[in-house]
Amino acid sequence: MAKIAITLTINGEPHEALIEPDRTLLDVLRTDLGLTGTKTNCLDAECGVCTVLIDGLAVNACLYLAVVAQGRAITTIEGLASSGDGRALAGALHPLQEAFVEHGAVQCGYCIPGMILSAKAYLDDHPRPTEAQVREALAGNLCRCTGYQKIVDAVLAAASRMASSAVAS
């Protein structure tokens, strides 16, 4: 089949691509659009490093066809920092990103973009989770370095911070 022209709305910006319909969203993001913050590994929905948000829900981009993602709001890790261009300007990090830095939750870092997005999707829906709920929310994101403990701590800390600033504002 000939390539088709699609427009993907990523982090609020339209991105055009000319692709075969069997291309996955993960591949289009990384190869065509140069957005390598979303990672590649098992290509089997088993490890979660490719997690992106689609209309606010966590999804494995490795099994999601790019054509199906048209018309939906796609969020990648590059879209999380409030400066929008992914640079770590002081104060520009999302509370989850800040918490991951402060709590020693980052080791090799390869699982982290997917982990942060899974956490964000969950916190947006459940602002005051218990530890058990956070673990359950992240069960689809494998980490081999941290043993998950400081990741869980960081998510709980971010939840507190986000909840209290929500109250304040």
Partner: protein, 761 residues
């Protein structure tokens, strides 16, 4: 924890965190160059065969294919860490399913995959050697018929399918059996397991017009890969440049050449940059996993629980090529001795060839396997003698000034403190708090691997400091730790330091991210560089402040003297104008550890340098009907010497225990007839958030003499004790002793029913 130090010893955020949390950090798997081709490797479908013919004509003609290479395109070179037995592509004999036979490069990954499908290989199968028993049987077929002709480390004891036999002999075990009141003999087995890094191995290679190749790779040992690749390409090492952009986990699986040679060869043939990346299937069939083992352990004790003798044999199924087998077999003998006073020892480690993927080094190589045997047996002994397992260990552990198994003198021995504090934290007094619930202990020791590290440290005219190191950051935050040491010595903040790392052309030699050595060695190299910088700074400052050098000190980003102070920035500026810049070279190599050479044979690792000591304790319940294990509490007490950065050391412990629990309860690469049955992450089961308990880390500090501020290596040890600790707790909980890893629910249920029915196992 850290008194008197300002930066070193503080739980400061790692310097590379912002790039990682924003997705802007680039890993080798992310790296790309314009015009790049995609490479894929064609791999053997037979475990043992003569390669009759390989036909790549159809593949070469396919759309988008720009290069196809086979053994004919690579120099007739064999490589390997201990025995040079491994070719790039099998030229004639194929020795495992997954062995590379050819490679293609094409304009898209899909085109490369289609080309692979068009390659035809014709095999003449031979009887495969499927396991240790088959390999060691009298008259067994040889995995390597021409083993004698291979270049190997001279001291290795090689013979047929055995690519090394390492041995430690102390005293006379026969005398030990006589002195013993009881002699215990047990056999243990462990499975092959994979490091499970989440980033696949990846390399991008590009040649320039001067005949130099640059390879961006996620290797842990850029200088080792440089040397191996130079051999394979038949060019001078200085013509090979390895750059490590970022590594998504290694754990030893990314030490040796993985895909760099395919990328470089394809790039040379096609004239374009080429990227090669492994799939999960390739990782689980053709990587460098941890060897499966069989362990035979015989230990003599007096009736009051003193060890009189130990005889141990551990056989490593190291696969089709020696890989790290010979070295791992050596280290194993040190682990089999354990941190115990035992007057008579006869310990052997065998690395054995089979027709399976060649195995390598995985975080504390040989540690979990040998420790599983030693610490399980200690509990069996304790139980049989009616002695508390904690007490049995206390009666036998080494103390300050004792000898290690090869005669090295042990110093900074924090073992007793670790053992007591771990037992205390788990509530050892109440060992069986409820039906189906029990607690287990395991202790061990480990090394801080030597090797040299060099750094350049530059103070910039704006007052910032650049640390230029050949080391690689694989996720442990070791380079943050080293930078903390540097900041401490120079009187600056961690935030003032920028790290440049991992480029064989522009960074000094480093022995690599292995053996828990990076923070230790690079930290010490930084101290050497800082000392040299201090000399240069003081020379300049003395003139500036009109005083003598011995009246000066480094403090708060200044050189401070009796009459005033001058900033490092100003001195760097001055030096740049008149002296070529404020830069120093620092090197470090760990001093050798003296040992008794008469005690060892075939041994490539005869002493544990700056050894660490540790104790693990676990409290768990077992559902005897389903075999499900629920861990309530897990405690680690680890003698780290000096905690350079406590939060990241905790991270190593928490992560190491999680990884160790995977090896203990759920992970195994399953082979049948030479083929892997579970080469995917659905069926290679790594722990998720719901499978890992919280871990309580107790950082014990008995400062060593060599490491920066007394630090010891910390990364590998947490992988060592989980299997034994869990096995001991399960035995305490339901009275069932499992002697093979992984300890699956199925094994627990079947053994438990057998025990209940009065059977033996």
């Amino acid at each position: 924890m850290s008194t008197g130090t300002r930066v070193a010893g503080q739980s400061l955020p790692r310097i590379d965190a912002p790039g990682k949390v924003t997705g802007s950090a680039v890993y080798a798997a992310d790296f790309a160059l314009p015009g790049m081709l995609y490479g894929k490797v064609f791999r053997s479908a037979e475990p043992h065969a003569r390669l009759v013919r390989i036909d790549t004509a159809r593949a070469s003609a396919m759309p988008g294919v720009r290069a196809v290479i086979t053994a004919a395109d690579a120099a007739d070179v064999r490589y390997g860490a201990a025995v040079k037995d491994e070719p790039v592509f099998a030229p004639d004999v194929v020795r495992y399913v997954g062995q590379p036979l050819a490679a293609v490069a094409a304009v898209t990954l899909e085109a490369a995959e289609a080309a692979l499908a068009a390659i035809e290989a014709v095999y003449e199968p031979r009887p495969p050697v499927l396991d240790l028993a088959a390999a060691l049987a009298p008259g067994a077929p040889l995995v390597h018929e021409r083993w004698r002709a291979y270049t190997a480390i001279p001291i290795l004891q090689r013979d047929g399918n055995v690519c090394n036999r390492a041995r430690i002999v102390v005293g006379d075990v026969e005398r030990g059996w006589v002195e013993a009141d009881h002699v215990f003999e047990h056999r243990f087995t462990t499975a092959m397991v994979h490091q499970g890094y989440t980033e696949p191995r990846a390399a991008v290679a590009a040649w320039d017009s001067s005949g130099q190749v640059t390879v961006w790779s996620n290797t842990q040992l850029p200088f080792d890969v440089q040397a191996t690749l130079a051999d394979i390409l038949a060019i001078a090492p200085s013509k090979v440049r390895i750059i490590v952009p970022g590594v998504g986990g290694g754990f030893g699986g990314k030490l040796r050449i993985g895909v760099e040679h395919f990328a470089a060869l394809l790039a040379r043939k096609s004239g374009r940059p080429v990227k090669v990346m492994t799939t999960s299937e390739e990782e689980l069939t053709a990587a460098y996993p941890r060897q499966g083992t069989v362990i035979e352990l015989k230990t003599g004790v007096t009736r009051d629980g003193r060890l009189t003798a130990r005889q141990g044999r551990i056989y490593f199924d190291t696969g089709a090529f020696a890989g790290s087998g010979p070295g791992v077999a050596s280290v194993a003998t040190m682990v089999l001795a354990g941190p115990y006073r035992t007057p008579n020892l006869h310990l052997e480690g065998y690395a054995v060839y089979t027709n399976k993927t060649n195995c390598g080094s995985y975080r504390a190589p040989s540690g979990p396997q040998a420790n599983f045997a030693v610490e399980s047996q200690m509990d069996i002994i304790a139980d049989a003698l009616g002695i508390d397992p904690l007490e049995l260990r206390l009666r036998n552990i080494v103390h300050e000034g004792d000898e290690g198994p090869t005669g090295q003198v042990l110093t900074a021995v924090g073992l007793e403190e670790c053992l007591r504090r771990a037992a205390d934290a788990i509530g050892w007094a109440d060992r069986r708090p409820a039906p189906g619930r029990g607690k287990g202990l395991a202790i061990g020791w480990w090394t801080t691997t030597g090797g040299s590290s060099g750094v350049y440290v530059k103070i910039n005219p704006d007052g910032s400091v650049t640390l230029n190191t050949g080391a690689v950051e694989i996720g442990t935050a070791a380079l943050t730790g080293a930078a903390q040491v540097l900041a401490e010595e120079l009187g600056v903040d961690l935030a003032d330091i920028t790290v440049i790392s991992g480029d064989t052309a522009s960074t000094p030699f480093d022995f690599g991210a292995q053996g828990s050595r990076t923070a230790f060695a690079v930290g010490n190299a930084c101290r050497a560089a800082a000392a040299e910088l201090q000399r240069k700074l003081f020379e300049l400052a003395a003139a500036h402040l009109k005083t003598t050098e011995d009246a000066l000190a480094l403090r708060d980003k200044h050189v401070v003297g009796p009459g005033g102070r001058v900033s490092l920035a100003e001195l760097a500026r001055q030096s740049q104008v008149s002296g070529g810049g404020m830069i120093a070279h620092g090197t470090f190599i760990a001093p050798g550890t003296a040992y008794d050479t008469k005690r060892v044979e075939g041994h490539v690792y005869p002493a544990f340098h700056s050894p660490s000591f540790h104790a693990h304790a676990v409290d768990l319940s077992v559902d005897a009907e389903t075999g499900e294990v629920t861990i309530h509490k897990y405690v680690v007490a680890q003698d780290v010497g000096f905690a350079l950065n406590p939060i990241y050391i905790e991270g190593q412990i928490e992560g190491g225990v999680a990884q160790g629990l995977g090896q203990t309860l759920s992970e195994e690469i399953v082979y049948r007839d030479g083929r892997v049955l579970n080469a995917n992450l659905t069926d290679y089961k790594m722990p998720t958030t719901l499978d890992v308990p919280r871990v309580e880390s107790i950082l014990v500090e008995h400062p060593g003499r060599v490491g920066p501020f007394g630090a010891k290596g910390v990364g590998e040890p947490p992988n060592v004790e989980p299997p034994a600790a869990v096995a001991n707790a399960i035995a305490a909980a339901v009275g069932t002793r499992i002697t093979s890893l992984p300890i699956t629910a199925e094994k627990i249920v079947l053994a438990h029913s057998r025990d209940a029915a009065g059977g033996t196992h």
